[in-house]
Symmetry: C2
Subunit: 123 residues, 2 copies
């Protein structure tokens, strides 16, 4: 759905610009933000805004892929912080053109288990 795709793209690009008014304007006042890897949840636009404004470091975000339909969206994005570059992803729910739920994931690099070297190449 074009409208939801646009919201997801603006979510990332307004964060990157630190355009807090534009970013908060995409969110429902009762938005719920969850980080399943830490079992953390933030309730409400105001606290979620404060969380992002206070997040330390000179972080940067670049969207790589957006997919959206009538009820949900996802962005796969690249983040950069202190020389690190990695992938992350955020899932969205929408109600009446506002984001009502954000769930994001921050996968970390790991050493592959042995035994599959004959099938894979590395980059």
């Amino acid at each position: 759905m074009a409208g939801h795709r646009d919201i997801v793209e603006r979510f990332i690009t307004s964060l990157e610009r630190r355009d807090w008014a534009a970013w908060a304007g995409l969110l429902h006042p009762d938005v719920v933000y969850e980080i399943p890897q830490t079992r953390e949840r933030i309730r409400g636009r105001d606290r979620y805004l404060q969380f992002n404004q206070e997040y330390p470091g000179d972080w940067h975000l670049r969207p790589k892929l957006v997919i959206a339909d009538e009820g949900h969206g996802v962005v796969w994005f690249e983040w950069r912080l202190d020389g690190d570059v990695d992938d992350a992803m955020a899932f969205f729910e929408f109600t009446d053109g506002l984001i009502t739920r954000v769930t994001d994931f921050w996968p970390e690099r790991y050493v592959p288990p042995p035994g599959r070297e004959d099938l894979v190449e590395r980059w």
Copy 2:
């Protein structure tokens, strides 16, 4: 896109059933599978099939959310292995109704950094 959504759902459900014929039937012969966290890449349906058939452990998969459009799809799914339960996600590209690229992510739990306890609740 309904067709792509259906392919993504069948990707997970046929893996869970170990229905290798159904699963491989969704893949283009030249499919590329990538795991960015380990910088591993597998080229071709046959090697990707072998990789999954040989993957150790009594693993189980359950789709939680599927989003798809004309060119891409994603599934956010739960995996279980040896008592562990966690979330993972796979992104897909399609050509002519077959999967041409799969990129998956396996985020791990981590301890949240200090300083944001006043904004978050834990679950």
